[in-house]
């Protein structure tokens, strides 16, 4: 499923050995490689939860946090393979997400379904029209009222995510393609950080959130364009953006 080569058991162990021994400056990169190697496992496990009303991409994000915890806790002296060790941790994280943080308990089924349907319709319509759709167009396609669509859009913001509360760099596993696109953008990012005097808060953001912020407010891309570029739904971009901004506002206020 990935273009990258899958490492053998022994190679994974060597990578772990290198990770444990590495100086702090190299740990992030090695950890990202470990995440990369096992993101397929996370996706596999996340798929088992997808009929519960949350987008798969969100579940993968939650599962990745479990993977990161497993990476930190894995004991190389054990005989067990890492994937065997990590599976219950990842599943545990997904289950906890639904129990504590998920909207499964808070948002009625009808609204969950509405949100999923909206995500789909907005994506398709955007492609067919070559521009962002209007609410009337979305309502018509879904055979529902404009009010219902507006309600569904607002609900997209209402449910919790864990990514911003997660340890740094958690996004790297699922989003290696973003890293490829960085490079020259980094310079502008630094400039952005400087200009906004937000350096510490910006630096704390996961890579994807920082990138979305940059593309929207520095490059002027629309949410739909960002969704295309990062290959996630516009609804997901909207949610990440709103949450990131809310967190930054909060952080600034506390200064």
């Amino acid at each position: 499923m990935n273009e990258r080569a899958t490492l053998s058991k022994d190679e994974v162990r060597s990578l772990f050995t290198a990770y444990r021994a590495a100086p702090e400056s190299e740990q992030t990169q090695l950890r990202a490689r470990l995440v990369d190697q096992h993101i397929g496992l996370v996706e596999f496990l996340a798929r088992r939860f997808r009929n519960r009303g949350e987008p798969l991409e969100d579940l993968v994000q939650v599962g990745t946090i479990g993977l990161l915890k497993a990476i930190e806790r894995f004991d190389l002296d054990r005989e067990v393979e890492f994937s065997t060790y990590a599976t219950p941790t990842i599943v545990g994280e997904l289950k906890r997400h639904f129990r504590d943080k998920g909207w499964a308990v808070r948002v009625p089924r009808r609204l969950q379904e509405l949100h999923l349907e909206l995500t789909k319709v907005v994506g398709h319509l955007g492609q067919d029209l070559g521009r962002s759709p209007t609410v009337a167009e979305i309502a018509q396609t879904m055979g529902t009222t404009e009010e219902t669509v507006l309600e569904g859009l607002e609900i997209a913001q209402a449910y919790n995510f864990t990514s911003l509360d997660a340890p740094l760099d958690t996004d790297e596993g699922g989003t290696t393609s973003f890293a490829d696109q960085l490079g020259e953008d980094d310079e502008h990012l630094e400039n952005l950080e400087y200009r906004a005097s937000l350096a510490p808060e910006m630096a704390k953001l996961p890579e994807r959130e920082r990138r979305i912020l940059y593309l929207r407010f520095f490059k002027g891309l629309t949410q739909s364009e960002i969704a295309d570029k990062l290959d996630i739904s516009q609804m997901h971009v909207s949610r990440l953006l709103n949450r990131t901004l809310a967190n930054l506002r909060h952080a600034l206020e506390e200064e």
Binding site: V135, L153, R195, S197
Partner: protein, 123 residues
């Protein structure tokens, strides 16, 4: 020109209602989804100055006016005497608002903190 007014407690809890009214009016003006999302971000960004992260003692009065293809949203905060509200935009806010709105101002008017936002339908 038609105007709609809302008066809410100065708490982030009620911003959802403000966003919904803004989105509802933008829908009448046939804004695209991208523009509606931008408008909501603008509303959140401005309102955050008045509500703070945890709410303030007081109320916010918000007026929505439709002028042709554009929507103007203005707010006035009425706070208890102890509440301190800043009325100059941070550089970060300015950058956000420049992207998501056509114009945005925050100022003290006769001792009352006020904001104004304008967003027009994309041509």
């Amino acid at each position: 020109m038609e105007t709609i007014s809302l008066k809410i407690p100065a708490s982030p809890v009620y911003l959802q209602i403000v966003r919904l009214v803004a989105a509802g009016l933008a829908t009448r003006l046939k804004f695209t989804l991208d523009d509606i999302e931008d408008l909501k971000i603008a509303v959140d960004e401005m309102s955050a100055y008045f509500t703070g992260a945890n709410g303030r003692e007081g109320t916010i009065e918000i007026r929505f006016s439709v002028h042709g293809d554009s929507l103007e949203i203005s707010g006035a905060g009425h706070f208890a005497s102890g509440e301190k509200v800043r009325t100059d935009l941070t550089e970060f806010s300015r950058m956000i608002l420049e992207t998501v709105a056509d114009s945005a101002t925050l100022e003290q008017m006769d001792g009352t903190p006020t904001f104004s936002l304008v967003k027009s339908k994309a041509q």
